[in-house]
């Protein structure tokens, strides 16, 4: 397969095991050069704002968990849409959650910036699909 890897990816999740697993799978498929991790929405907003302030581009793909302490995924989305960035192209956001609550899924539809919803655990196939979607660009 001839797949273009993603420049930089961001994982926002409070579950260390999930982060470990995801990182490991990403390595297997050579998903991205850079993986940035935040443990909750609040950390993520602060960290991403810092990147923009430094004049750099934000990661082009963000994996976002919904249930997190301090600031959950929803609140993160509300803040993130307000936030300026230096990116040339759209940032793809994937919600990654264990929730099968239909109310959560319905709510996701309301956010244009959210690209898709991925049910945990994340698999190699999920990452391949994402790479296919972004392949044309990168």
């Amino acid at each position: 397969m001839n797949i273009t890897k993603i420049r930089s990816v961001c994982i926002i999740d409070d579950d260390p095991i999930f982060i470990y697993g995801t990182k490991r799978i990403m390595k297997e498929v050579d998903f991205s050069d850079e993986i940035i991790v935040y443990n909750n929405g609040q950390d993520a907003i602060e960290g991403l704002r810092q990147i923009t302030n430094d004049g750099k581009e934000l990661p082009s793909v963000i994996f976002l968990d919904l249930n997190m302490p301090i600031m959950n995924g929803w609140e993160f989305l509300d803040h993130f849409t307000e936030m300026p960035n230096n990116n040339q192209e759209d940032i793809l956001i994937y919600i990654i959650s264990s929730s099968v609550d239909p109310r959560d899924i319905a709510r996701i539809q309301e956010y244009d910036i959210v690209n898709n919803y991925i049910l945990k655990p994340i698999t190699i196939e999920d990452l391949h699909k994402i790479l296919k979607n972004t392949g044309g660009i990168n």
Partner: protein, 737 residues
Amino acid sequence: MQTLSITSLIKDSPSAVAILNTELRFVAYSRVWLDDFCKGQSSLTGKNYLDVLPRTPEALRSILKECLANGTKNICEGRKFIYPDGTLQWLKWKINAWTDDSGEIGGLIILLEDVTDTKRREEILAKAERVGRIGGWEIDLSTNQLFWTDITREIHEVPDDFQPYIETAINFYKEGIHREEITRLISNAFADGTPWDTELILVTAKGNEIWVRAKGEVEMANGKCVRIFGTFQDINNKKKVELGFKKVSERLALATQGAGVGIWEYDLVSKTMVWDNIMFRLFGLEYNPNDLSYETWQNSIHPDDRKDGDIEIAKAISGTKNLDAQYRAVWPNGDIRHMRAIGVTQKDSNGKVVKIVGANYDITELKNTQMRLKESEDSFYGAFEHSNTGMAIVALDGSFEKVNQSLCDCLGYTMDELTEMSFQEITHPDDFKNDVHLLKQVVNGLKPSYKLEKRYIHKNGHIVYGILTATAVTDMNGKVLHYVSQVTDISPQIRTEKKLTRLVNITSEQNERLLNFAHIVSHNLRSHSSNLSMLTNFLIKEKSDEERKNLLTMLRGASDGLNETIMHLNEVVQVKIGAHEKKKDVNLYDTLKNVENNLSQLIQEKNATFELKIPRNLTIKAIPAYLDSIVLNLISNGLKYSSPKRKPLIQISAELAHDAIIISFKDNGMGIDLTRHQKKIFGMYKTFHRNKDAKGIGLFITKNQIEAMNGKIEVESTVGVGSTFKLYFENHEHYKN
């Protein structure tokens, strides 16, 4: 002249005759003269007339002198003389002068008669005629001329010289029935001698209409009418009175007929009873005035009322009081009618009651109406007294005129207290305006009644929910006299409704929480299970020992997390099960002290101050295990999330509200941003601080536990200042000594 024979002839004359000579000495006289004028004297011969009759009036003396002097005669049909002693005498005379053979005047022949008795009778008769306005008349059948006396003329108002004939007399009668009647009567009299006696109107010569009584009699001889005469009386005044009376009587009869008033008369002397036709009708009897007695009446009276009736009659007869009695009459067909009899008594000159005259009328309708009214009133007051609905009669100013026990019971007042009050005093202030507004519409006649759900204030201060129906009671002119208020106490329903609403809210809240809970559980279980499956997959493929060890450590972490989640789940389920446990009286102070001891190590570590402002004897109804858990959770939260900038201070106090005991847990910790987290604070797995111990389960369990005890939890918080959690427990009995 053969003197002797004449003298003896004169002596036996049946009249009083005397012959006098020129010197007025008696020559001869009749015995009648001696008896009539000179009683007691033996012989008058030779005596002077004036000596024998010294009382001879001057007028007669002159006549005697004149006749003697001129030889003339004097005749008088009767003349009245009044003597100096007051006595009265009518004298009738004939005086002639007599001449001797030579033609010389020899003396006087006097025929004298005392007509006093006759004349007096005539005079009285004439007077009577005048007084009685009775005139006489007679028809001269040879000339058809009529003779009228003066009074007759006066009645006809014709002049004294008026000469009437039969035709003219008849024409005085009023044209029509009056003239026809007199013509018929006179014709009958001519034909067969039938007398008449009638009352008719005639029109006088001056045009006045008067009533007269005309009486005629006929004398017949050999079947032929020889004389018709009669009297003629002016009865105008009497007739007018009579007619007036008749008119009044007729009017009264008409009125009594129309009003159904029977008139009766009972003569106590002759024991006769007189009823008019209405009386018979009132008693359902055939009109039969001939077969009527006091018993007829008595028999018509209901047996139970006879005694009272007799007593009333007896009172009237004794003159104690006029008759006024009410009784029942029984008709022949068995119908019972209510009657009222009133009567006045008539007394004789000795003051003894001889007659009772009265009226009798049917008051059945009135009586029935009265009875219905009474029944209606009785049933109203019966209903009023015994109704389960609160009822009151309210005066126009709002004061209670009368209240029933039910109203007293539901408002907590005694009857005496409530009747001293007005509806304004027991109405909830927020409902007063609405009530008065509706009441005004009733007063203004816009509606006869109104219905309103309103609140009353019970004597002990709590609210009584009621449905009020107020109805105006008006007099016949539509003027409002008072109101009848009916108050249905719907407090139990309202309380049940509130309880139900609360239950529904709790239930739907619980359902909501349950759904959340299910999703959270599934989410958490899934996160652990997905981690487990992922790590297991890595482990299978992993060759490096070091990395395998690392994976195994994570695997244990994931399995511990799964275990913990299941324990939380169990804990939450336990709250639901535990809700069925009985609440007990728990001493709050002791509970708090116990928790303080358990947390003493943490308190020391944090160098925290613990202030307990709880009465020693305050007890609350709680499930002890829940209360322990709640208190432990809230206090440890206060310690866990303390601010690093200040020495932790935890204050616990109790407050008595109307229907709740409020326990406050106040800390000076980090505080929670409620604008962000208000909705999530009591949610499961919600954490708000960067605290490693935060699991997001404590407050979720706490909320479930307090609600399981019918309480509630509220929070106030300011970031950087602190939080206050308030627990509300149901308040039954506050202190136990």
